[in-house]
């Protein structure tokens, strides 16, 4: 490192750990998010700038950490996460009917967010330690490592985060070679189950019918999704208004800052979970396709990195992280456009919200690290 502040040297230093294609995609997404935010919530732009800076810094730091180091912090991170989840269950702050937050000194944190990173790290680490002798028993142990925090988060209750954590763990199991004999039946049962819920929605959504294992608000979300008009002023209002926003956008949208649904307050949570509706109301199908293409490129790059990763750990981690991005994007766009229940998942890299953005960027940084360190670790 040169002591002189030569801009070129600095730039080289900054760019050194980064992966070019991923960085470009991140900049494109951040720029697009900024443009949409100008319309959705201009007063939050400074905060968005701060959050984005922190997130990109986190990404840069994560990109500098070699996969070996990541492996060594995986288990401690998991243990810390678990401890914090227990602490939340015991002393957590209750807000909006859910116990998710933990006060530490001046700020409050949401430990479940940590698990989104710790979970794939830990499971990838576990399978790396068992490399060459992976048996069915290992999948049981991994499944247990996965189930404990997922159930604790689901109990808070926070369905959205528990789905994301469960998905991140499941992706590791999947790439580690979980048998199709186990995956397919579950997938089939899932499809049949969802199909039958849709088919019998009228009956099982009647008030008084209890759903085993799910809370009343979760049942309500599913039922509202099946028939938003059943609750046009309550939960259904969000879905009805967001589909109106999307549909009224048409091919090219109403124009930047001209979304009536957005600006006349019909759209709920317009800077956070429902920002996709703002984007598509103002930029139409073209705007939606743009963000979908960016996500597809991001995922393809991630899968490419995973395919070229040298160790089992980095392969599993890269594959799982990539599919996490996909899960975020798919669930969010699905719920805003009314084909998935509203579960509180942000639009990755676009929605306002510092914690999620930092988590996601840490993931991207880890992908970059895997890509940059592939030769040095190679056998």
């Amino acid at each position: 490192m040169s002591p002189r502040l030569d801009p070129r040297t600095w730039l080289r230093y900054l760019l050194a750990p980064m992966d070019g294609p991923l960085l470009l995609l991140m900049l494109a997404l951040a720029g697009y998010a900024g443009i949409v935010m100008v319309s959705a919530s201009p007063e939050r732009l400074p905060l968005v700038a701060v959050n984005t800076s922190i997130a990109f810094t986190s990404m840069w730091i994560a990109a500098k950490i070699p996969p070996q180091r990541m492996m060594s912090i995986a288990l401690p991170l998991y243990g810390l996460g678990l401890l914090l989840l227990v602490a939340v269950a015991l002393f957590g702050e209750i807000s909006k009917g859910a116990q998710r937050w933990l006060h530490i000194g001046v700020t409050r944190i949401q430990p479940s967010e940590l698990m989104k990173i710790a979970m794939p790290l830990t499971l990838a680490w576990y399978f790396q330690t068992r490399e060459g002798m992976i048996r069915g028993r290992d999948f049981l142990i991994a499944g247990a490592l996965l189930a404990v925090p997922v159930l604790m988060i689901a109990k808070q209750p926070d369905l959205g985060t528990s789905i994301l954590v469960a998905a991140s763990g499941f992706f590791v199991l999947f790439f580690a070679g979980l048998s199709w004999k186990l995956i397919l039946p579950v997938a089939i049962v899932g499809v049949v189950g969802i199909g039958s819920i849709v088919a019998t929605g009228d009956i099982i959504c009647k008030p008084g019918v209890e759903w085993p294992g799910l809370r009343e608000y979760q049942k309500h979300r599913v039922c509202t999704l099946l028939d938003p008009t059943s609750d046009p002023l309550g939960k259904g209002f969000h879905i009805i208004q967001s589909t109106i926003a999307i549909g009224s956008g048409g091919m090219t949208g109403k124009g930047w800052g001209a979304g009536t649904q957005t600006h006349l307050d019909f759209l709920p949570e317009r800077h956070t979970d429902f920002i996709f509706a703002v984007m598509t109301e103002e930029f139409g199908l073209a705007g939606a396709l743009l963000v979908v293409v960016l996500y597809i490129l991001l995922i393809l790059r991630g899968l490419f990195i995973a395919a070229g990763a040298p160790t089992l750990f980095s392969r599993l981690l890269a594959g799982a992280l990539t599919l996490i991005f996909f899960t975020y994007a798919f669930v969010n766009m699905g719920m805003v456009s009314g084909i998935l229940p509203v579960v509180g998942v942000p639009l990755p890299f676009v929605s306002y919200g510092g914690t999620a953005l930092v988590t996601l960027c840490l993931g991207v940084g880890m992908l970059m690290s895997i890509q940059r360190h592939r030769r040095r670790v190679g056998t």
Partner: protein, 636 residues
Amino acid sequence: MTAVRTPEQDLARFRARLAVAGVVVFVCFGLLVARFFYLQVVRYDYYSTRAEDNRISLVPIVPNRGLITDRNGTVLARNYSAYTLEITPSKVADLDATIEALSQLVDIQPKDRRRLKKLMDESKSFESLPIRNRLSDEEVARFIAQRYRFPGVELKARLFRDYPMGSFASHVIGYIGRINDKDLARIEESDEAANYRGTDHIGKSGLEKSYETALHGLTGFEEVEVDSGGRAVRLLRRTPAVPGNNVVLTLDLKLQEIVEKAFGNRRGALVAIEPATGGVLAMVSTPTFDPNLFVDGIAPPDWDQLNTNPDKPLLNRAIYSAYPPGSTFKPFMALGALTTGKRTPGYVMGDPGYFNYGGHRFMDDKVGGHGSVDIYKSIVVSCNTFYYVLANDMGIDAIANFLRPFGFGQRSGIDLPGEATGVLPSPEWKKQRFKRPEQQKWFGGETISVGIGQGYNAYTPLQVASALGALVNDGVLYRPHLARYVVDAKTGARRTIEPQPLRTIPLKQAHIDLIKRAMVGVNKAGTGARAFAGAPYEVGGKTGTAQVFSLKGAKYVEGRLAERLRDHSWFIAFAPADKPKIALAVLVENGGFGAQSAAPIARQALDYYLLGKVPAGIAPEDPAGVESADDEEHAH
């Protein structure tokens, strides 16, 4: 998942799974894009309409209701602007406590509370209902200073309907009241729902009801952009309201006033018509009521007082009550006799003072009879026997057929709601009226009673006045009407309500002239002579007495009968006799002999209408005078 595999095998399997994941990603994103395409392209029109509906709200601008004036421009119904305090019950947690707190600021009477309770029973809880009307400036100021204490209570500037003449002509003008469920159903049926958005009053009776469409006007709209909370953000477009038309009546309020005062506290009715047009000059029904009481929901004590009063002040006797016409029927009977050829002008009969029919003796009211009686004399002295014989000779069918074209026993078609039909007796009518076969049969003796205007005969004062109008108008019957012009409140353009001839009854001029001459004779030398002594104009008339109570042969002595069982007193008149400008019918309930009670009222009416003579105690010119329309528009 076997224990040992080469790293190459592991890598190959891993890459295969990456490929599977890639496929799943593409399929899922494909699904999303298909969904976006469906929403944004296939269903674009639907969702863009929904977004517009969300965005735009129509705020109605309620039109000013038209004025009602008499033929001389005296205002009978108008609007004025005032503040009202309104409560939306559904937005108020504790209604009684709120009203109690409000009563510290503004004067709230027990009757205001009772009226609110009544309105609440009739309305939905989210409607805004008045607790106090017409607040003083001081009360407005006091409330505004403390309005933060009263969520769900609003101060509204509103137009109120006002009837400056109070109880005068109240039955004719009618009143407006708050729209209730029945009105709402009618509005929706006539496809007027959009025009009544924002309007909360509607004509309930009288001209206010029959000219509702003209008076109401067209509701305007403001298209405003609203946010999700319903707050207006900006005005997009404005369609101004078209104010309701003013209705100018044929009615002469001064004449109306003189007649109402002449009735004093007697019950009865008067209808005066311009024979050549059918225009109603006065329509009185006593006792009257104050229509102002109804405008914002009548207070229960006022309602009870009006509704349980045995004198039935709400009843418009002029069009809704049917009475036997008594001897006022005789000129029509005589004209029928001449027209059908049953009698000639020169026909003379000897009157013994009675007529025997079917073992019953029908008595004349003069013992020993009137001697030799011809058509002329039969009317002047009101000879019953002449008409007993005549009715018997004509037969009930000929009587009914001759009188039907005059409008007897039919609704006249006047521009007022709630007109009664009355009864023109005939065998067919009896068949329909009664159920049992033995009741349905027509008896000859019944024809005899009909001949002197008793029996089943029952006509409204309007029908009698209208029939007299046709008689003195040489057989041309006009539809009676109260509205003369409908005036556009903005441009002042008048649309004349054209007089509508209903039919021309085929009559011989000589016959008409004879009857009219005989009726003039009534007021010169007959039963009306005392009432019309010294009248400087030539006036035709006829007294009548309708039996309320059958004496079964006993002699009628007025003092011995309870007031309500006394005979009704009739008088019909027209003047000037050669070219009648006015024809009228007066009925005084339980007034006894027609010449006593009814004829003097007719005299006062004619003296004013023909001579401009105003009786003592009535101001010659009304101070209320002519007022200009209030043109300001009023948004709700």
